[in-house]
Amino acid sequence: MASYLIRRLAMLPFVALGVTLLLFALLQLLSPEMRASLYVKDPRQLSALESVIETYHLRDPFPIQYWTWLKQILVGDLGYSETARMPVAEAIKAFFPATFELALTAFVPTLLVGIWLGTKAAVYQDRPLDHFSRFMAITGYSLPSFVLGLLLLMIFYGRFNILPPGRFSLEADLFIHSANFTPFTGFLLLDSLLNGKLWIFWDALKHLILPAATLFYNSVALLIRITRSSMLEEIHKDYVRTARAKGVEESDVINKHARKNALIPVITSSSLLLVGLLGGVVITETIFNYPGIGRWGVNAAQQLDIAGIMGFALVSATLFVLGNLAADLLYAFVDPRVRLK
């Protein structure tokens, strides 16, 4: 297991390098003036782009440009985002925690419910629970997030006046920005607990419920269907029949034998799902006026904020690489054949 882990980790820098190379190569399609914002540290420099172009060799051959840029991003200098009106690194630091909280709040129930319901649906094939799971999957797939999100918002906020949009209420907003609150991490749920303010924790959670529910409903469909089909395949295999014949209890047959093997495709799709959620969920964040990285990313793209777009792409790429790594490690955990190869 240790050598497998080392092998996977050793691959990581090469993959990351490949990703940055690809991203930077794409950038070469733009003129040096448009790329210059990647090197700007202060908005005042935006009107003196020619000196930026010279300083950072933007008219030099590709390898020199790439090396100059790589040195910069390695020290966390990603340019200035005009959309966020702050340096890109700061923007990522500011927007990512909100998205992370939302993603996690949606992902954990998605994973638990998806695997549980998928397993049950397979075990009780064509029985009411299976029909219910099918119903959830079909509606989850077919209801776009902007319809579901608005519907939930209209019911729970518009009609019942609970679960409002945004990230926090006015009272919490004022308290968080006062001297009485220390933003230790930027993660509001965590910071509220570290500050001993349970009411802020509850306030933040209330604001997370609807966007998280929207994401949950849209994402759980996939996991239910994958788990179900994978489980159906496994429970009809010989080793399951053998286990049953040996008199192993049915719950052990399902949970310990069949499900562990059925999880491999689930791991792949759930890691991709998590990466997708962490990379920002544009529509959900926009509808709920949630200040996450996705909303920033789409603003940057719409307004051709090159530094913002690159920053966003780098975050997404890094998350994707890490997500794949996590999936690979989990494969090894559930399937010994992977680590022994």
Binding site: S31, P32, E33, M34, A36, D42, P43, R44, S47, L49, E82, T83, A84, R85, M86, A91, A94, F95, L150, L153, M154, Y157, G158, R159, F160, N161, I162, L163, P164, P165, L170, E171, L174, H177, K206, T286, I287, F288, N289, P291, N299, Q302, Q303, L304, D305
Partner: protein
């Protein structure tokens, strides 16, 4: 266990304190006023910012010499000055060239330092001499110095500007005396919203101009973010800046407890950028917002919501939307002009300098469809850039109508026939969240593209502050904006929209020396009849030149919670229908 979980869930839901349907909603956040809008701020520097969103905040934190009396656009009241100068009270000299403003004693800045006549002079000097390109300085440069820019035609700073400003603005005891070269009727109206007082000592201590002749040129036409005043405020007004959260597009103002008049009734004012209309609407109906920015096309969705009041038919002194052509587009790193050549894949930087191109667009726009569809008929087609609420408006001024045949004729003549033969491709922009301007762009696109399959227009929303920067840098080939009155006079429309030194022509690179001359002649003209004739001539020349497309004259509307009291409409105040003057506003459910 299951029962317990269910009970706990029900308890949590019930503890949220939601009113039952039909039950009256209690005022949420009774001492905080929340305004949801689509714009973010450009700058908080009163000498730099020249857009409604920024001016709204500046107006409520800083104070000018004079103000308007309630809803009146004619009657003025003293603010920082203790009297409104007039010939009757002797504070305006009989020849109309010397204005004396006694400065109100006992006024202090929010940091506690008392306001002095020297601060008022410094604020006016800074307003005049900072003179950023396309900024508000020309409003006072024209009347006080007699020219509209501190830089000559080649962009060189004029040495004389400091000395002239310094001699025309004089502190005499407790008074500030302004001497102007020629009589200028709207001067007092301009001083009623512009060039508010800042603390000289505070500004200097934070690295701003020290007020001397030796350094003023370093501070002329500065970068937006270069001044401390870009994001910090210290005024004498009823509110103080508590926070400007650029990331979340949110600004919070806190009541100034030591305000020289009584403190405001609202403790806080929160202005938040929420681009999604449905979210704004839901927050208004839930009582989390007190007023929201609304466009007429969205009005039907707000009717019948309990507790929400719609105030319509508010008079305006505004010309919006207007489509502007950039005559000399900045091609450097410009993503909006495609190939940058007239090859069907882009447009050359001087594409719109051909009058036939502009006329083609002018005839292609379906004005009537826009007025009917977006404004539901609430408005009439504009005849020139002077709104009908102002003297100088000419209802018979020539204007363009939707006529695709004539549009085609002009496009065929443009650039010696090359436009029709090769086509073009560029980006037409509007400020994000403004669905009215978005629809206008779409109507224009559809009509132009159906003339010739080689004509291609992309439409792109741009965030407000970025939008302003991009238009100032001449990056937008064609853009939709508007003009709201700085003071109620026709000059405030013809100058910024037609004079080569005005806000828009400076950005567009448009200049017609004859129009410039007539605009200057009209403001110096004291005979109203002759002045009207001059404006008619100007509008006729503008019709020939087509530097922009004016669309309609309309009325404004406001949507608010019915517990909002004290608000009044004055079309000269910044964003009056949504924001305006926060000082008299309070929230009270008992008066409904």
């Amino acid at each position: 266990m299951k029962k317990l979980t269910l009970t706990a869930a029900l308890f949590l839901l019930s503890s949220c304190g939601n009113p039952q349907p039909g039950e009256p909603t209690a005022i949420k956040n009774p001492d905080t006023y929340t305004y949801l809008t689509i714009s973010d701020l450009d700058s908080l520097d009163p000498a730099w910012s020249y857009d409604t969103a920024s001016h709204l905040v500046i107006f409520n934190v800083y104070e000018p010499l004079l103000g308007y009396k309630g809803s009146s656009t004619e009657e003025l009241v003293p603010v920082i000055a203790s009297q409104v100068p007039s010939t009757t009270n002797g504070l305006i000299s009989p020849d109309g060239l010397t204005y004396t403003f006694p400065i109100r004693p006992g006024v202090a800045f929010q940091d506690g330092t008392p306001l002095t006549p020297e601060d008022v002079k410094y604020s006016l000097m800074r307003f005049l001499l900072q003179d950023r390109a396309g900024g508000p300085s020309s409003l006072l440069l024209e009347p006080i110095l007699g020219y509209s820019s501190t830089r000559d035609d080649r962009g060189r700073v004029m040495e004389k500007a400091f000395q002239e400003a310094n001699s025309r603005l004089q502190v005499q005891g407790d008074n500030l005396v302004i001497e102007i070269p020629e009589p200028y009727a709207p001067l007092l109206s301009i001083l009623a919203t512009w060039a508010p007082s800042i603390s000289k000592q505070w500004a200097i201590s934070h690295g701003d101009w020290d007020g001397t002749e030796s350094t003023w040129k370093e501070y002329n036409n500065p970068q937006k973010e270069s001044s401390y005043l870009f994001e910090h405020m210290n005024g004498t007004g009823p509110f103080m800046l508590e926070r400007w959260d650029k990331k979340n597009k949110e600004i919070v103002l806190l009541r100034n407890e030591n305000y020289w008049q009584a403190p405001a009734q609202l403790r806080r004012v929160m202005i938040k950028g929420v681009n999604e209309f449905t979210t704004r609407k839901l927050m208004l109906s839930a009582g989390d917002a007190d007023t929201i920015s609304v466009e007429r096309s969205q009005l039907s969705q707000l009717r019948g919501i309990p507790g929400v009041a719609i105030i319509d038919d508010l008079p305006t002194i505004i010309m919006s939307p207007v489509v502007f052509f950039t005559f000399h587009i900045n091609p450097v790193g410009n993503p909006h002009i495609g190939s940058g050549k007239l090859d069907g894949k882009g447009v050359p930087p001087d594409f719109f300098s051909d009058v036939d191109v502009r006329k083609g667009f002018a005839y292609a726009l379906d004005y009537e469809a826009f007025i009917q569809d977006v404004y539901q008929g609430k408005g009439t087609q504009a005849t020139g850039c002077i709104p009908k609420t102002l003297p100088g408006h000419d209802p018979n001024a020539p204007h363009y109508n939707h006529d695709l045949k004539r549009a085609e004729e002009h496009f065929k003549q443009a650039w010696g026939g090359q436009v029709w033969e090769k086509g073009f491709h560029f980006t037409l922009t509007y400020n994000a969240g403004n669905t009215t301007r978005q629809t206008l762009c779409q109507i224009l696109k559809v009509n132009v593209e159906k003339l010739n399959p080689r004509f291609k227009i992309d439409i792109r929303p741009v965030q407000w502050s970025t939008y302003l920067s991009a238009s100032q840098k001449k990056m937008l080939p064609m853009f939709t904006l508007g003009w709201a009155a700085d003071f109620p006079d026709a000059h405030n429309f013809v100058f910024p929209m037609l004079h080569s030194r005005g806000n828009y022509p400076a950005q567009q690179g448009y200049k017609n020396p004859e129009i410039d001359r007539l605009v200057e002649q009209a403001i110096a003209e004291t005979d109203p009849g002759k002045r009207k004739e001059l404006y008619s001539t100007i509008l006729a020349l503008a019709y020939q030149d087509v530097p922009h497309l004016v669309v309609l004259d309309t009325v404004d509307l406001r949507v608010q919670r019915d517990w909002v009291k004290g608000w009044y409409h004055n079309p000269v105040l910044p964003d009056s229908a949504g924001g305006g003057d926060f000082y008299p506003i309070y929230k009270d459910a008992t008066e409904m």
